[in-house]
Amino acid sequence: MKRLHFMMRNIAALMGYRGPALALIFLTIVVLLAIFADVLGFDPFKQDIIHALEGPSAKHWFGTDELGRDMLARVIHGARTSLVTAGGAVTIAAVIGVPLGLIAGFFGGWRDGVIMRVIDVMMALPGILFAMALIAVLGRGQIAALVAVGISGVPTFARIVRAQVLTLRKRDYVTAVESFGGSSTYNMFNTVLPNSWPPILVQIVVLSSVAILLEASLAFLGIGVPPPQPSWGEMLRAGKSFLHDSPTYAIVPGVVLTLTILSFDTLGRGLQTVLENPRRSSAKPTTEGAAS
């Protein structure tokens, strides 16, 4: 209940900024379309060779591809691929990265040393290279792309959480829990972690955009999600051969991809502003005791 209240308040605060508000609206539309694509009757596989490579029309708003499939349906289903990959990747990155950062930051010492050196090694590998290597092992498929992108996102999570924990660790309210007998595990998960949400949340949004881009890049290189499953990167790859005949083929998925990534980034930045000044809109704390 309280969580919900917090969330609503933050969303309300976000809507006060123009950029993040537009981004949020755009992303909501994309997500809703991706979820309800089947219900709305978008079929990305129905071929209609006679009307192949047509420009936008009343029947096909975004035109058709070389097999006469409706581009609008394919873009919407492509959003599904992108979002699922992003969601899965971010989940993997957060589930592994957050506890690593938490342990490293909270305990320090040798645990910190070991974890952070491993993270450093992971940071040294370029994400796309690592993904390609992983796909080479696991074979081409959505799961492989998802795992690859997820693992390459682990280091940033671990580092961000560690930095946050290091500052929180010194706070009196963390020491207080220790003083009345709370164990380290209790302190870590009940005191430090809940207070670390703001940067984690921002990172989730930011990493989503990175994941979408990485997924599209893999597909563009032809090692992403296998056809016929629609993917924006795949569409860009196929569409570039028909740039002269049907420019919308490549442009539409490109624009949608750009807008999505841009929206995630804008949202992330907006979220950061909102979460850093949590009580701008609500009851003002009294200033007594603070330096006057």
């Binding site: 020491t175 007998g181 209790y186």
Partner: protein, 685 residues
Amino acid sequence: MKQAILSVTNLEVTFPGSPNRVPVVRGVSFEIMEDEVLCIVGESGSGKSVTALAIAGLLPPTAKISGSIKLHGKELIGASAEEMRRIRGREIGFIFQDPSTTLNPVLKVGEQLTEAQVFHGLLPKGDAPARAIELLKEVEISGPAIRAEQYPHQFSGGMRQRAVIGMAMAGKPSIILADEPTTALDVTVQAQVLELLSRRQRETRAPIILITHDLGVVAETAHRVAVMYGGRIVETGTVDEIFAHPHHPYTAALLQSIPRHDLGDRRLEPIPGHPVTPTSLPKGCSFAPRCARRQGREQCLISEPPLEASSTGGTAACFFAGELPAERLSGVPRRVAATAAEGAAVKPLLEVTDLKVHFPIKRGLLQRSNSAVRAVDGVSFKLYPGETVSLVGESGCGKSTTARSIMGLQKVTEGTVRLDGQLLSNMSTAGLRKARRHMQYVFQDPFSSLNPIKPIEDIVAEPLRIHKLYDEFGGDKYIAELFELVGLSRDMFGRFPAEFSGGQKQRIGIARALSLKPKLLILDEPVAALDVSIQAQILNLLEDLQKELSLSYLFIAHNLSVVRHISDRVAVMYLGRIVEQASRDDLYERPQHPYTQSLLSAAPVPDPVRGRKRKRIVVKGEIPDPENPPPGCTFSPRCLRATDICRGVQPELTPTGFSGTAACYHPGPMELTAAPHAAQTELTP
């Protein structure tokens, strides 16, 4: 009649806010003459700092200023930025609160001192170094030629503030504004800096406006006083009049509510409620809701009383300014715990023996620790059930580290801690967790000691939940009882820490500490972060709780007045050691160790008449580097009684002949300290 150097008329400052602009300063008028020290005193949110910043033209552009500020008859409001910069450079010297952030860390101190003058063309660049040395000499910094070439980090806190004073006075300004210039400093250093400030004032005859919340500082430095509350001046007068016959009920109440180290003990009379903030000004007189003199009279709630001349030559903004308080400072002594005497038949609740906490310093490639900061170096004391023992000392003396290591928050290097006869030092983690139930910690800063994302009832209940005692102790109902016990109400359930004022937060912190029904509370500077009028509330609460729940307190503080008020026994710490411990009254009335004596005489007394009569020792120098303490008695370099033996071997705590012990080769009353060794020290009558 002297000409006013600065006259402020009807100054108003508002800041943006929603829905309306927030009035922070509301119609402030005052004048300051040549050779005068005006203290503006008030609590946080009273608008005192904003007034000073407005005069210096240092407010952010979002602030709207109206009224008039005239310096030498010249209007400052509406002056161009260029003009203001010129005036700040030549006419106004500003001394900020925190000397560690006022100086530019990458610029040599000497260069900084003369930077402004060179910039404004008042000083040829070639003469700057010589002038810098001269300035440092004027603010009594030893070795000025070397010091001028150093960077701020090589200066100690007190020296930095001296340098800042030198900088402010470098351009021979017409007026000096000092905003809480000694709040960040230790009490012995504060005394040095205040003395320097008033000496330089006498020499230059430049008027000073000194902003402070400390009535002791006011009494020691001011000629005239202006008391601010809720953005207005509510009373002005000469310093003697203000302290002897306060006309405004706020001033009177403030004087009643502060603990004093120079008086026999008494129950404090706190001002109810908490200070108004600019966003929550009541209608009518802003002090009316907390006022004891109003007694239900309607007039105070309807209109704001104007600032009118009072019977003693000052001014006061109260409809009933004539009704002087009948009662003066009462002297009802607080009981001293019966078990105060050592060696009583009762077993000590807490026994600390030879506690040492050293922090190794790792250096070099191999990270070898070849030296250590001896934060706590052999501290022993006993605390009996039901009594309050205070550890008092200046920053860096190890008092907080001692408290934290007793609590188990800090690894102990050597020594033992026994609670109720149980040895804590080598207990298992689980055993320690259980034992900790009987002692709890109250933190200094109520703003950072409460988890900001938990509702307050969960914060108070957290210790119970951790020990799985929530239901056993009575759940919700018990929490509500705790709330009532500390003067909060059940209606506050569900709200978050940020919605409360500092005093309320500290009450929440105390409720949390009490939730496990501990026997011992370790109070680490529990009132240091609070406003003066709130301190009394919390101190009284602590006293009541002690009586009601028969608690024992280990009280950590730097403020001697607060310590005198609350303690049964007091231990004075210096550089990681206890240098003197005694029963409260013996320590304050018959201090034997020279450090205790200098501490007591450095602490300002909020009574100008008494203060002037006081014999004062102002010790030179500052606390030495704890990594590299002086040989022998660590206080010897600053001590006026030090002899060769002091510089050779560290003295042990030996009985003083009164109730306590002191670690000194030459203990004795202060009067006997005259002349022969006075080279190190000044005696000012």
